[in-house]
Amino acid sequence: MHCLPSFVIVILTVLPLSAVAQSSEPGLTEPQPIESNQEGPPDPRQIVQGAIDQWRGVSSVSELSMSIRRPDWERTMTMRAWTRGDEQSLVRVLAPSKDRGNGTLTDDDNMWTFSPRVNRVIKIPSSMMNQSWMGSDFSNKDVTRADDIVDQYTHTLVAIREQDGITVYEIEAVPLEDAAVVWGREVMLIRSDYVLTEHRYYDQDDELVKTLTSLDIGEMGGRMLALRQRMQEVDSPGAWTEIAVKSAEYDVDLPDRLFTLSNLRNPRD
């Protein structure tokens, strides 16, 4: 339930999960092609880090749509998201109109939501961090804690294979003993251009619980991205959440005032 990187990635584009940063120097850099700086097998941790950087950039502005599908209903929301650095993100719902203006602000591990209907900013308490974010298959914690996949796990490169003419690295991530992660292990498939194609979550009995899959991969905002990703639990075949990137711009200059509670409440963007 925690921060899954992939998810992170998904949202990262959008939401700045606090993640990536720690292993890279301040001011995220564009990832180098994996092969170019490697002798021998590449470092799996760097690949993961690179995938997160790829998603997020130093800063980003993007427009997303999130579809939540349940056996008896489905709904789609359009959102705009700003991210900066590892810690800061702001997501605001554009449509449907009844949800318009709902916002989520994250800064470090903290999270606040605002709904114009109640006209209040609410800080999400730790007891609610495991609850669903906007009714989706992602939890609030997924949204705030992206970096965990880098610094709370040990990574192993399991396999390297060619697929559709591109190299795909299969990386297994096992959480550290004290990590705030419930999974037994996670497996990520990351292409050599740092696009995550699949992220699988296994429980501690090594049964697959849920999978994040990239359905469309293409170029957006000058980089290769998973344009559409689906999070699906193995036990509930009729229910999933899809996030699609409609537009994205990277490395834009974002003002400080964007990531403030007052901006969450009174949008001036």
Partner: protein, 412 residues
């Protein structure tokens, strides 16, 4: 005069056995009544004791010290404003039967499948072993090793809900004093059983030192507790802890303040026993008065003759009252014996697991152990004797007021 009394008493004794069957029935009624008073009181008292003991077992500490705001808002922000090391020194020097300091905060625990709200206890296992509600005999896995143990011990029911077990990892989330999220993975090292399944769901235990690091509180705790010999006699311990904490901005409470429901149980129980005893006695008293009235009616001529021969009315009264008291005393002796015997027969408790769920709602466990207290036995006997005395006054008064001539000529 004492000669007259002796004669009256002898007459009373003999009168009692003139109608053996009636006396035997009355004795049986009094015995059963006394048995019901004492035995049922013992059962109820046993149940109340169990509730209080169970309640106190998860609230270990007859006397507890908290930050003044902790009871309204049991969060990690309301720490005792005295360092834990200092608290430990003070409590250690005071020589309580048992004492401990701990962290108790709300938290959220999650596995791959489920998330639940729980109460997180950061304890010193070496201290708490003596009085913890965790049943160490049936613990699956191991208990915490020390304050720095990195594992977590959870209840069986919680483990079922989370679909986890010994050896797997869970994540605990709470917050630190600055309201920042604190979360961390713990490996489940033990799954415990407790008297009440609801405790197994509510409490998870980790080492105190680990909890302090996890929650970012240095050397601080949320509560310090002391335990005395008996939960009924806590006042001396309370005074002593008050003295220990004198001058610090903390609140010191006894268990009846901390859990007012439990605290109300003891006085409520005493009131209940009194009402119960009186109700039974009222039913009994009709039989008693009726018996006395009948025996007086049967002896109107006899009483008339005694009065005519010069016996004083007071001696007649005495005779009737003694007759009544003898009846009651014998009935009580048999009733007490019966209730001691039946209490002894079930001294290990009776299994009420058929209604365990209902009992649990009241906070009592599935085993009912009677508790015969001297207070309750004395209360029942005194009520029967005193009220019995007053009940017998009316027939006695009537008997002493007969006009000898009318009484002698009464045709029976």
């Amino acid at each position: 005069m004492s000669g007259v009394l002796r004669i009256s008493s002898a007459l009373a004794w003999r009168n009692l056995w003139r109608n053996r069957r009636r006396t035997a029935i009355m004795l049986a009624a009094i015995s059963v009544g006394a048995w019901a008073m004492i035995f049922l009181t013992a059962l109820t008292q046993g149940m109340v004791n169990e509730m209080i003991r169970d309640g106190l077992s998860v609230l270990p500490g007859h006397v507890q010290v908290h930050h003044p705001d902790y009871r309204d808002d049991p969060s990690i922000a309301n720490l005792i404003p005295v360092a834990d090391g200092e608290l430990e020194d003070r409590f250690d020097a005071a020589g309580f039967q048992d004492w401990s300091t701990r962290i108790r905060v709300p938290a959220v625990i999650s596995s791959e499948r489920e998330t639940r709200g729980v109460t997180l206890l950061g304890i010193d296992p070496a201290r708490e072993r003596n009085f913890t509600f965790v049943d160490l005999e049936t613990l699956d896995g191991r208990f915490l090793d020390g304050t720095e143990d990195r594992g977590i011990v959870i209840g069986r029911k919680l483990a079922d809900t989370l679909e986890t077990r010994t050896g797997k990892r869970v994540v605990v989330m709470s917050q630190d004093p600055d309201n920042e999220l604190a979360d961390r993975g713990f490996r489940v090292i033990g799954v415990y059983r407790a008297n009440l399944p609801s405790y197994e769901e509510q409490f998870v235990l980790i080492g105190k030192r680990t909890a302090q690091q996890f929650l970012n509180v240095d050397d601080r705790v949320t509560e310090a507790i002391a335990i005395g010999d008996d939960f009924r006699e806590v006042e001396p311990v309370l005074q002593e802890v008050r003295a220990l904490m004198h001058g610090d901005p903390v609140t010191v409470n006894a268990w009846w303040d901390l859990d007012t429901y439990l605290g109300a149980m003891l006085p409520m129980m005493d009131g209940f026993v009194l009402v119960w005893v009186i109700v039974i006695f009222l039913a009994l008293s009709f039989g008693l008065v009726n018996t006395l009235v009948m025996s007086v009616f049967e002896r109107v001529r006899e009483i008339g003759v005694m009065l005519a021969l010069g016996m004083r009315p007071s001696a007649i009264r005495w005779q009737i009252v003694v007759e009544s008291m003898l009846l009651l005393v014998f009935g009580l002796v048999i009733g007490n014996t019966l209730s001691f015997a039946s209490t002894y027969a079930i001294r290990d408790g009776i299994d009420v697991s058929i209604v365990a769920e209902g009992m649990e709602m009241m906070g009592a466990s599935a085993r009912l152990v009677p508790d015969l207290t001297v207070d309750n036995v004395v209360l029942a006997n005194v009520v029967v004797l005193v009220l019995g005395f007053f009940a017998s006054l009316s027939p006695a008064w009537r008997a002493s007021r007969y006009d000898p001539i009318e009484a002698i000529t009464t045709v029976q």
